[in-house]
């Protein structure tokens, strides 16, 4: 008897099937991977299981009994735990308090003593080392994840759902995390892991269910398949690994950062003495675990934040004192990692968003008056050229909030990557995009490089960094801890630098 059996699950949102007759079976002691592009229906499926959505039709049987959960609380009570992609911890409470938060047995008086003993025992048993009295806000992301898992284990779950658990971890942390999963498997837990990283699926899972466009395409035994087969099922074609970057990067310095520093602010990381050079026709990859100063670095270059020390020069001319708009006019364009907050105004329509940079310049505006017709015309052209697809009939007047992530990103690329661009600062440009959109964005970046422009590619995705970069700079704790040439840049080397482990001879003063 299977631990969990979901059969013929259907769920549609305003007429579109997110899950179309999905099946999923998980056995005891099995790690089952859910693989699929964004929008394939993975998250919908587990949300149905976890009681967040009600299915339109289909049945769920849990340990042989038919069940239907109307809230996560029911699901947890039945023995199903979920670790969300974005953790649901109270940052200003201790680890222990987070674990016992909202437990049914705590009617009124908290019994912290028993709880602590049990937490320590669980932590010890599964190798989830964490200090129960530490504040969650002081923990690293990896540690917070351990707390989330402990929280689930403490509630005696038998099935753990992990939504994109490794996105925020270094390669070394990921390896540790997998060790924990292996112990859990041995103890008979069922585990559902949602991921889009082939290497992780191959390394950890027993079986894979592959989803595409809301449908189940295949269920495979991991040891009888290959990454190629997986990606064929997932997308119907394979992701390009090589890009047309034959001619070497240029020698001429386009952008130079010298001794750039920024003090730590309430939200945000400090930067210490950043020295970087970007050449014409070069993609400079910036690797690092998220939150080590990459966002601040990007914002200093495009002018959203101001450096306290050091200088940033474009073609030898310092940009100190230049506003975001002036820098844009000089050719510094930005694809932000936070599309919805920083790059778009999602309640405005496609035309307005495409015009966020240019609206005040002819032909779109003369003497302060907008020329709507010219704006719409330009928008239609950009939409066509960059394959921005709006659902429905409203075309260029569709609100951007209604676009898919891929189309939103194409819109941003269409706006930023124009003829006058010289330096493209692209931060996590393909995060959350499906394969088609990912390739499209990457090809545009490579195109810019090949046209002799400079690209700064900030990404947490090492495969992306390695596929696209001429050189790789690694950031850790607000510093550039190493700059590697394409040849030197191996996953191991970058991974060590990312973890702040190797502060060795390849320090900040790398040959440029």
């Amino acid at each position: 008897m299977a631990l969990l059996e979901m059969r013929d699950i259907c769920k549609s949102f305003s007429g579109v099937y997110a899950n179309d007759h999905m099946n999923l079976t998980v056995e005891k002691g099995e790690i089952h991977a859910l693989l699929g592009e964004n929008g394939a229906g993975k998250t919908t499926l587990v949300n149905i299981l976890f009681g967040i959505y009600a299915p339109d039709s289909g049945s769920i049987s849990w340990k042989g009994q038919p069940v239907s959960f109307s809230s996560p609380r029911d699901a947890i009570a039945a023995g199903i735990g979920m670790v969300q992609q974005h953790f649901s911890l109270v940052r200003r409470m201790t680890v222990l308090d987070n674990i016992i938060l909202n437990l049914r047995e705590n009617r009124f008086v908290l019994d912290r003593k028993t709880a602590r003993a049990r937490v320590l025992q669980l932590a010890d048993k599964y190798g989830l080392k964490v200090d129960p009295d530490a504040m969650v806000c002081d923990l690293s992301v990896g540690e917070q994840q351990r707390v989330e898992i402990l929280k689930a284990l403490y509630r005696d779950v038998e099935l753990l759902i992990l939504d994109e658990p490794t996105g925020v971890l270094t390669p070394q942390e990921t390896a540790q995390f997998f060790d924990v999963l292996r112990v859990l498997r041995q103890e008979g837990y069922g585990i559902i892991i949602i991921t889009h990283r082939m290497s992780e699926i191959m390394a950890i899972s027993d079986r894979v269910t592959i989803l595409r466009d809301g449908k189940q395409v295949a269920v495979l035994q991991t040891n009888q398949t290959t990454p190629d087969e997986l990606s064929r099922h997932m997308i119907g074609r394979e992701l390009k690994e090589c890009y047309d970057m034959d001619q070497p990067a240029g020698q001429q310095v386009l952008l130079e950062l010298e001794g750039v520093s920024l003090p730590a602010r309430r939200r945000g990381h400090a930067l210490h003495d950043i020295n970087l050079q970007l050449h014409r026709g070069e993609i400079l990859g910036i690797a690092g675990v998220e939150g080590n100063g990459q966002k601040e670095l990007a914002e200093l270059i495009v002018g959203i934040q101001k450096a306290t020390h050091g200088s940033i020069a474009l073609e030898g001319v310092p940009m100190r004192g230049c506003s975001v708009r002036q820098r844009y006019e000089q050719g510094v364009v930005y694809i932000s990692e936070d599309r919805l907050q920083d790059s778009l105004v999602v309640d405005m329509d496609i035309t307005d968003n495409l015009m966020l940079r240019e609206y005040c310049r002819p032909p779109y505006a003369k003497k302060g008056l907008l020329n709507r017709r010219a704006m719409i015309q330009a928008a239609r052209m950009l939409m066509e050229r960059f394959q921005v697809r709006a659902s429905g009939v409203s075309g260029e007047s569709t609100a951007v909030r209604l676009l898919s992530g891929g189309n939103q990103q194409k819109l941003i690329v269409a706006r930023e990557v124009n003829e006058q661009a010289k330096v493209v600062v692209a931060s996590q440009p393909t995060r959350g995009l499906d394969i088609g959109a990912t390739e499209f964005v990457r090809e545009r970046l490579v195109e810019q490089r090949n046209q002799g422009k400079g690209v700064i590619l900030i990404s947490a995705d090492l495969e992306e960094i390695m596929a696209l970069s001429d050189r790789v700079a690694v950031m850790f704790d607000g510093r550039v801890v190493g700059i590697l040439s394409r040849k030197e840049a191996t996953v191991e080397q970058i991974g060590l630098l990312m973890g702040g482990i190797a502060q060795e001879k390849k320090g900040c003063h790398d040959a440029q």
Partner: protein
């Protein structure tokens, strides 16, 4: 069943109207009157004669301008609750110019009244905008506090330097006829100020919809951070919208002094500066919506007045009804927003 957005809107509108009518009938019944008779008197009060119909626009005029002011500020996310105070600033400034420069010819003085009112209201709002953009101090608190300052300053002024020397009532001297805004329709109070208000609505609509400034306001209001990251001058937009907002409310104050009261006295605003917040909210910050909302609001007040005079049904009922309508309209919006966010999750 899936309904188109438009049909859905109509359906919701009808349901809101039905709920409103039923509730009014119940409230009128509770007062011991016949609802049908009361409704009849209500409509007679609104459409019965020229003077009462014109009265709607007289009452709508200050609401329109202060509502427009709020709408302009809300566009950039500047939550100006200071229309009341800015109205007072306008009233005081207009009175001071009208009474203080007797040697200047009437027409010129009239223009100066409006200019000084607009500038005064603009400065009053600028104070809050400056604090907001410089140190991120809540504009809500600051504008409310500024209201108190100017409201009590008016009380001080009409007992002091602006007090009518020929009387001992706390109000200013009467403004001479050459500086008053003339009536347009005999035997009503329909005055030139109403036309000024409508022209300003048109101007503001044009600025918001057709200019780069309006584009900036919209972007800043919908996503301040995103606007800034794209190089849109966020601080300038917020300050400008606040100043424009304060100026419009102050013009309402000037019109009230120059067309209706013809002197300065306490309580001159009739709290329209606070009603304005509500008008802007139900109009979703659109100028045309502001016109509709303020006219409907004024009509309800006028009709309720007639109901009260003839049947003894308290006109406060109308305020209850208005409250309910606002909750229903905003509730509908909230529900849609909730549905959208749920769909996205």
């Amino acid at each position: 069943m899936m309904l188109s957005e438009k049909k859905r809107g109509v359906l919701d509108g009808i349901s809101i109207a039905v709920v409103t009518l039923l509730l009014s009938a119940l409230l009128i019944l509770a007062c011991g009157a016949n609802p049908m008779e009361a409704f009849g008197l209500f409509f007679k009060g609104v459409f019965g004669n020229k003077a009462s119909f014109a009265e709607i626009f007289v009452k709508a005029c200050p609401l329109m301008l202060t509502g427009l002011g709020c709408a302009v500020a809300f566009r950039t996310g500047f939550f100006n609750i200071g229309a009341e105070g800015q109205f007072y600033v306008g009233a005081i400034a207009a009175t001071m110019v009208a009474l203080g420069l007797p040697q200047v010819p009437g027409g010129v003085r009239l223009v100066l009244c409006f200019v000084s009112a607009f500038v005064g209201g603009g400065i009053w709002a600028f104070l809050a905008a400056f604090l907001k953009t410089k140190w991120n101090i809540s504009e809500i608190i600051v504008t409310i506090m500024l209201n108190y300052i100017v409201i009590y300053f008016l009380g001080y002024a009409v007992r002091g330097f602006l007090m009518d020397p020929s009387g001992n009532v706390p109000q200013s001297a009467k403004i001479e006829a050459s500086v008053q805004l003339p009536n347009l329709i005999a035997s009503t109070r329909f005055h030139v100020g109403i036309l000024i208000a409508l022209v300003l609505v048109a101007v503001v609509w044009f600025v918001l919809e057709k200019t780069t400034l309006g584009f900036e306001f919209k972007a800043v209001g919908l996503n301040r951070r995103g606007a800034g990251c794209n190089g849109i001058p966020v601080v300038r937009s917020m300050v400008l919208s606040a100043v424009l907002s304060g100026g419009l409310s102050a013009v309402a104050g000037a019109i009230e002094v120059l067309a209706i009261q013809k002197k300065l006295l306490e309580g001159i605003s009739g709290n329209c500066g606070y009603t304005a917040v509500l008008i802007a909210l139900v109009a979703f910050n659109r100028p045309v919506g502001v016109v509709i909302a303020s006219v409907v609001y004024a009509a309800m007040q006028v009709g309720a007045g007639s109901m009260q005079r003839q049947l003894g049904v308290p006109s406060a009922i109308v305020n209850i009804i208005i409250g309910v309508v606002v909750v229903l309209i905003l509730g509908r919006e909230l529900l849609q927003w909730y549905k959208r966010s749920k769909k996205k999750a």
